[in-house]
């Protein structure tokens, strides 16, 4: 240790570099966390703009604005950008900022790799976005990229695949880094079963990422060789099988959707106790529920494929396995409510978004349970019902918790309290409009409207119009969010270290001053 200390005396290395080089070369977990979050926010608006193109076209029957091919590009790119550009980077941003502070570590375990994984993400994101301007247009076969259709993509196919490789490498690096940090850098005394739930969810998410991203990379590489090197993995004429791709894809895809939701469980388990002024109910069962959800996620993939023509034994197995997921998920919801029970609750904006999350995510869970029933899924599958389902779990589910987490930690990051009044306006606008946007889509799907169509029969007009109105309201409400964040960065009421009343008991990050200094926990804290 003494050698390091003396080196410090010679050149002061405690503050960030100046200018652009600070961001290009930084290895500081807070800087990298900030960059991840800013990237995610930008992509959230880019993907959101694409969603508005979709909702504008679907505002009324007939084609008004875009041709069907471009419409398909929009649905495809909206999904890819929201998943790989907005949600996953937002979680990586939270992890970078908060995991070291929550476990009392000075930084991430692998700080240089941390920098590399962020800049690879940017490279992958830019490459993916650039396919919009290529001959033949951006990928338009849906984010699942099912062959043979995806093989009809124009010049953009190899670029889209390479961008997925880059994004995959970036995610795997981030995951390895977070797992290594959690295993090796916890402050003395912080056993695994003492870690904050958010850290637990990221530990499991990290393992899921490491397990499935290579599978996805393999699947898209097989598409690449089918298209350019005359293999026929997915072509029946050459002895392959188009459905094989779907099995591989969803073996990745189902754990992937849990990658998109598990960290939000961690956020909810972090936020509810603070605002209920009570410890989390059932910490142990929360951890066990998480682990069982993660394990189950590997054996339910074919519920995305009930209609491809599986043998009856397969249909039944995947139906039962999927229904089982409801048990640990239910345990989590019950535990959150038990945490609220007999608390002394206050409803600052992070708590408001979290309460909305518990209700609306559970509604998405209910429709998920309905979808698990294979014979009923024969009706729901590929209709607007499924669109409603996964948007309920991903928007008022995942996105709401990302927003809640942002409000929750924004004072810690910026040192300023955000505008609470305006944030409440943001909450009510978002919560009302998100339901206007997605609830009618249940009806559309049940009445028989397929997903991924740019135009529809006139009996679907009313609910599509309501949905589009909700979409535009929801989209523009998010500008309030952007304004609040910028305002808090630029100034405002000084935040205390604790920020939220009594928060010190709920997490190490609240024992630090606000804004958190550039380097924190250089000496590990004492854990009681």
């Amino acid at each position: 240790m003494s050698a390091v200390t003396s080196a410090h005396d010679e050149h002061d290395d405690h503050g960030p570099k100046k200018g652009i080089m600070r961001w290009l070369t930084t290895t500081n977990h807070k800087d990298i966390g900030t960059m991840y979050l800013v990237f995610a926010l930008v992509m959230f608006f880019v993907g959101g703009a694409m969603a508005l193109v979709i909702r504008a076209e679907l505002f009324e029957p007939g084609l008004q604005f875009v041709n069907p091919h471009f419409f398909n590009s929009m649905t495809t790119m909206h999904a890819l950008i929201m998943i790989f550009g907005a949600v996953m980077p937002a979680f990586a941003g939270f992890a970078n900022w908060m995991v070291p502070m929550m476990i009392g570590a000075p930084d991430m375990a692998l700080p240089r790799m941390n920098n590399m994984s962020f800049w690879l993400l940017v490279a992958g994101g830019v490459l993916l976005f650039s396919t919009l301007f290529m001959e033949g247009g951006a990928p338009a076969a849906g984010w699942t990229m099912y062959p043979p259709l995806v093989l009809q993509t124009g010049n953009s196919l190899p670029f889209a695949i390479f961008s997925i490789h880059l994004l995959g490498v970036s995610s795997i690096m981030a995951a390895i880094n977070i797992v290594a940090t959690i295993f090796n850098m916890r402050a003395p005394g912080m056993g695994l079963m003492k870690m904050p739930l958010f850290v637990w969810t990221w530990l499991i998410t990290g393992f899921l990422l490491i397990a499935v991203m290579p599978v996805f990379a393999g699947a898209v590489t097989m598409l690449l060789t089918d298209r350019f090197f005359e293999t026929s993995f997915f072509d029946a004429a050459g002895g392959g099988d188009p459905v094989l791709y779907q099995h591989i894809f969803w073996f990745f895809g189902h754990p992937e959707v849990y990658i998109l939701i598990l960290p939000t469980f961690g956020l909810a388990s972090t936020i509810i106790p603070v605002f209920a002024r009570k410890p989390l109910f059932g910490y142990h069962s929360m951890v066990y529920a998480l682990v069982s959800i993660a394990v189950l996620s590997f054996v339910v993939w074919a519920h995305h494929m009930f209609t491809v023509g599986m043998p009856i034994a397969g249909e039944l197995f995947f139906m039962y396995a999927t229904m089982l997921v409801a048990v640990p998920t239910g345990v989590k919801v019950f535990n959150w409510i038990a945490t609220m029970w007999k608390g002394a609750m206050t409803f600052e904006t992070p708590m408001l978004f979290t309460v909305a999350f518990v209700v609306l995510f559970t509604m998405g869970g209910f429709s998920g349970l309905m979808l698990a029933i294979a014979p009923a899924d024969f009706q729901y599958h590929d209709s607007y019902f499924i669109v409603a389902h996964f948007h309920y779990v991903l928007v008022p589910g995942t996105v709401f918790m990302i927003i809640a987490g942002t409000y929750y930690w924004l004072p810690k990051w910026t040192g300023h309290r955000y505008d609470e009044k305006l944030a409440k306006v943001h909450f009510w606008m978002s919560t009302i409009s998100v339901n206007v946007l997605f609830f009618p889509q249940h009806f559309l799907g049940l009445a028989g409207m397929p997903r991924r169509i740019p135009d529809y029969a006139v009996q679907f007009a009313e609910f599509n119009m309501i949905s589009s109105v909700g979409g535009f309201l929801f989209g523009f409400s998010q500008l309030i969010f952007l304004y609040i964040i910028i305002k808090a960065i630029r100034g405002g009421e000084k935040a205390t270290g604790e920020v939220w009343e009594g928060a010190k008991q709920h997490g190490l990050e609240w024992t630090l001053p606000s804004p958190a200094p550039y380097h924190t926990f250089e000496k590990p804290p004492k854990i009681k």
Binding site: E135, G142, W341, A344, V358, V359, S367, A457
Partner: protein, 405 residues
């Protein structure tokens, strides 16, 4: 984008555009709907149709069962939560009680949901097994998905035809067509040749595809199933009520995925047999039309129809194609080059282009080839007779000889 959209909408409103009138009508509808004053049999539907088969009724019952179970759980769970939110607030002076574990309730809310799931799984399994049982059908129809039409093959009677979006919807659906969708009957849900089946017969459906994945879905029948190229899936249907049932392709299959509807007409046995005879006569007439000499004007006129129905979705109505995806035919070196070359590509297909020799009859093929050479701003001047195409089609139908390998 959004700005542009609302800008356009405002301009439309100021100009009194007809589509805005439609928008106003829909808003009026919405308003009535919210007040619960809409006509009893309003066009929109809120729920899954019960359908017209035993299976579809079973599926509907399952759907309602799970829905009500979820609603009950939801009311209970959210009820408890909102009670807590109301009474356990700091602002009403509630003091937090610092408990954080209770093994008994945790066990309870693990076991009760498991029991509910088992209760749900029993009827679901029964329906699933019933759906899966395709044994002992009365007749079999093979359904092949193409980009973007359906092919129906009555395996027992040899009747065979293609079914694509009707011409009226097809015109109205074009970007900037200026036609109000509400003026078209069954907009996007109507076809030129519907599938006709007899009622109360167990009909086995074999599903496959020729190019990419499709999925055949008629909500009134209670299921959908994927059409996978190179593989055959099976399903069955037994319709209990004569009527017209409409559906759509449910698996993304490219740019015109939204434009390949399904129409099934269920008829009493006698009417069905009459229809079958008509179809057979039509097929004979179409075959014999290839045996006579056609005038060039006749070929081009017929070819124009065939082109709009079969070619325009990719090569565009004016033959300009889509840069980077679908080549232009206007001025194309293939179309303006030697006749043999074009005939060969149209019959056998190339890359994304399907083999139209498998889809169209000799007269239609001759007509459409003649049209492309003398329409779409091409002026080659020659044409081809159905009599020339007929032997080529016959040769295609011959099985390939083993030594070709």
């Amino acid at each position: 984008m959004a700005g542009r959209y609302f800008g356009k909408l405002m301009i439309k409103i100021m100009l009194g555009d007809s589509s805005v009138k439609k928008t106003k009508q829909i808003f009026a509808h919405l308003f009535l709907m919210l007040l619960g004053l809409g006509e009893a049999n309003a066009e929109y539907a809120l729920n899954m149709p019960k359908g017209v088969t035993r299976i579809s009724n079973d599926v509907y019952d399952l759907h309602m069962l799970i829905l009500w179970i979820c609603v009950a759980i939801g009311i209970l769970v959210f009820g408890v939560m909102f009670y807590s939110i109301y009474y356990h607030r700091k602002s009403v002076g509630h003091q937090a009680v610092q408990f954080h574990d209770n093994a008994k309730v945790e066990l309870l809310w693990t076991i009760i949901p498991t029991i509910i799931l088992v209760v749900m799984a029993i009827p679901a399994t029964k329906t699933m097994m019933e759906m899966d049982d395709v044994s002992e059908p009365d007749m079999t129809i093979k359904i092949t998905g193409w980009q973007w039409k359906w092919e129906y093959d009555y395996l027992d009677s040899g009747v065979h035809f293609f079914s694509s979006l009707d011409a009226e919807s097809n015109q109205a659906r074009q970007l900037g067509s200026g036609v109000d969708a509400a003026d078209i009957e069954n907009y996007l849900l109507n076809v030129d040749n519907p599938l006709v089946i007899p009622v109360n017969k167990k009909i086995r459906l074999l599903l496959t595809a020729s190019d990419v994945l499709h999925a055949w879905w008629v909500p009134e029948f209670g299921w959908k199933k994927d059409n996978v190229p190179g593989f055959i899936n099976d399903a069955w249907v037994s319709v209990e009520k004569p009527g017209i049932y409409r559906g759509q392709c449910a698996e993304l299959c490219g740019k015109d995925h939204g434009y390949m509807p399904i129409v099934v007409i269920a008829k009493e046995q006698a009417e069905y047999e009459q229809w079958l005879e008509e179809k057979k006569t039509q097929a004979l007439a179409a075959a014999s039309s290839a045996d006579r000499e056609w005038s060039q004007a006749e070929l081009i006129a017929k070819g124009s129809e065939v082109y709009q129905a079969n070619c325009a979705s990719c090569h565009m109505a004016d033959g300009q194609g889509v840069p980077g995806t679908f080549p232009a035919l206007a001025g194309s070196s293939v179309v303006t080059g030697p006749l043999d070359g074009e005939v060969s590509i149209v019959l056998n297909g190339r890359a994304m282009m399907p083999s139209f020799g498998a889809m169209l009859n000799a007269s239609d093929l001759a007509a459409v080839i003649s049209f492309t050479r003398n329409g779409l701003s091409n002026k080659v001047g020659d044409s081809v007779q159905p009599l020339i195409i007929k032997p080529l089609l016959a040769a295609m139908a011959q099985p390939e000889e083993d030594d070709d390998w």
